[in-house]
Amino acid sequence: MIPSREIFFNIVPAGVIAAYVLMIIPIGLLAYGLARRVRRWRLGQAENRFDQMGHRIWNMVRMSVLHGRIVRTRNLYGGIMHAAIFTGFVTLLIGTLIVMVETDFTVPLLGFSFFHGNFYLGFKLAMNVGGLLLILGTSMALYRRLVLRPATQQTSGDDLLLPATLLILAVQGFVQQALRLAMTQDPWAAWSFVSYPVALALQGLPMDVLARLHQLNWTVHLVTALVFIGYIAYSKMIHPFTALANVLMRRIRPRGELNPIPNMETAENFGASKLEHFSWAQLMSVDACMHCGRCLEYCPTFNTGKALRPRDLVLEIAGLQADRGGIFSGVLGEEANTGRFRWGRGGERELIGGAVSTEEIWDCTTCGACMEQCPVFIEHVPLIVEMRRNLVMEQNSFPQELAPIFTSLERLGNPYQNVPAERADWTRKLEQPVRQMSEVVAAGETVDYLFFVGCLGSFVARNQKVTLALTRILQNAGISFAILGKEESCNGDPARRMGHEFLAQQLAMKMVDKMNAYNVKKVVTGCAHCFNAIKNEYPQLGGNYEVIHHTQLIDELIAAGRLTLNEASDITQEKVTYHDPCYLGRYNGVVEEPRRALKTIPIVNLTEMPRNRKHSFCCGGGGGKAMMKDQSATRINQTRAREALATGASVVAASCPFCMGMLEDGIAAVDEKSGVRVLDIAEIVASSLQAPAVTAQRETV
């Protein structure tokens, strides 16, 4: 006998027909819900996301089927949970489709049947494994939502309803199979390793009871499945569609690059104060959120109890869209999808001041931890910056302490009212002079590197020491370089991330013009923000350079044997922990070079903070926050300082002047007497350098 089974066993033909007819309703609802969402996205601004399609598709497969970002060492529970639900659900879906193909296509139309033999046995096995995975995954989901309840998750109706429904569907499926096995005495029953034991238990029941139960369970299972399908487009279960779409259409520019506002002079509107001001892709992206809360895990504002929670920001924007949804908006589904459950349609709300508060908008340090975490590639920072742009450039509304900063940037080219003529005054403390780009070019010569010092490194006493240390390293290694000196000004990053795109473009344009006029090819920066802006954003303005952060250059120089390090130093055998600047590590992936440089220094004993590398925790200084007042009870920099102190390190290594300031303040506030110092990697290396050969020479002459 060939293994197989009768499809629609024990189901009256009328029931089968009813099933097919009823199926039209949920599929129609799904199609309508999807179409409605697409219509809403199309209200957004144009943005080209259709380039590099091959790369996009491969990336989508990697991030969905292969779970590229979903399963991560730091998110194992959620990753395994999703993989189980995904594999189980997809297996069962494919199984159902196979049966449909057999009954409705190959048999009636082609007179050909394949649902038997080894294929059938394998099918049984696979469906049982799938069902089991689905039960496992959904139970994990419910257990986490109901029992573990991590702080990053806020549970709304959908978060329980959907896994519960899937769990019920899987159980119903097994019951259905067990009842059939019990009735038919199926000789291959053991292949259904889950249902078989259940079937054995049910065998004692009379045949007609079994048949009734079988029909009843079939009907209930059908109705559950149809309701579930109908509900997909109105719940977070839409995410297989929206998440796939978002991963496919995600921005594939460097993450540290913000989209510019082209043609500022003629733009009708700056930034976003209405949904329509976002791009279609941004509107689509918020619909992909499924409340996983991963964006909160390393978010400095969430972790210090501030108003901004990136998940809620995304869900509120999604909710604002849902409010406009037409007849179905505000019913359980889409409103629940905002994570802030409410019955009925939400009232008319503004985007800024309604769905999202100005406090939330100004809280963000633009650290990017949320974007690094989000498994569906939602980009929170560009959403926030769009709203900042609107506040600053359309509404002239921003925290009042920013007015003098903007004015200083505009008039003096630096944020803190420093005298531009004093920008290169730090060079006076050097034994060996530093050349200025203008002199180099006037002499008809060239240098390999432009050293872009940055405002803090030029003016702030503490950061000047780092600049001096770095300069000595460059001189010691015999690097040919020059600075812009008095001609340097702010690169534009703070203004840009504070939403003042106009000012940012002015500042950046000035630097690009200068650097292009001097025919600069390679740039080394002493600041993670200068680094990111010049590397990732200057190409927008026609500034294309090879940009390298000083920690990368130091690493290269050590590896090439161009720096000779001493054993003796004032930080002999110290425990050092390294703080990754967001704009270096997370945004630009420079995490190993600084560590490698540190490890080669004989006196350094490197230890890690729990949150490191791409999962580092922000110092609190990015996105202009170093220039705004942090009034809240828990300061971000103090939180990070505590983490650094807990490692027992005596030196916190930094590689960005903003981090340095924030961490020094943080450590002083948390434990004044700790004696823990914050030193830039350049300082640690410089203090370990053997007496600079060149200087020694000069002295002997």
Partner: protein
Amino acid sequence: MNIVVTIKQVADPNIPPSHIQLDPSGKRIVSPFGIPPVMNGYDANALEEALRLKEKHGGKVTALGLGDDSSRESLKRAIAMGADTAMLINDPDLLNADSAGVGRALAAAIRKIGSFDLILCGRQASDTDGGQVLHWLAEALDVAAVTPVAKIESDDGKQLTVHRLVEEGYQRLRVELPALLGVSSEINEPRFPPMRGTMAAGRAMIPGWKASDLGLQPSAAKVELRNLQIQLRTSKAELIAGSSPAEQGTALADKLHELGFI
């Protein structure tokens, strides 16, 4: 309410003393590298107050300056902040005029601009701190002048009730319009120019007027500025020693006595 605000462009008062420079004639402060001149601070207060009155009553705010062509920058900033138009008297012969001459020139320009209800000036300019011009201007226009004004308490479009600063307090004065007020910094916090304004200012045309355009006869200055000098002030700190607070207090008192402060 039509308001004219006089705007003077001055060297940034926040230039560190060590960076202040004088031109070769020794009569003028020149702005050092990288620190552009600014709108006189009190004038910014005057402009802000004018803009607030305009927001309340409607009308027009005109910014009027006297200076070389570079002074257009400050007038542009006035437009960026919200002034409707701006004019510049840029006759080289008038650049070295004394307060009376400047007052007369401004008055002639205001007559050319047309009718006005209120003239708002800064109480004085931060470069010379003279505080003279506004009196000459009021005189030439034959309107009442009140200065320094710390608050406009009420206004009904015909009369203003203002607070005029006096030593240890203020006077409440009622002034008939048209009038001229010299505004002090207590009155408001000048706004940050909105971006749209800054962009509009970039495109704005600011006409330049010569003495002949204003029908002014040259007249000899009665006051002459001989030269300016930079006085660098130094400060030093001294710690008062003492083993107890009481002892330190006594030592401090002795010291202050010795220095002639008490």
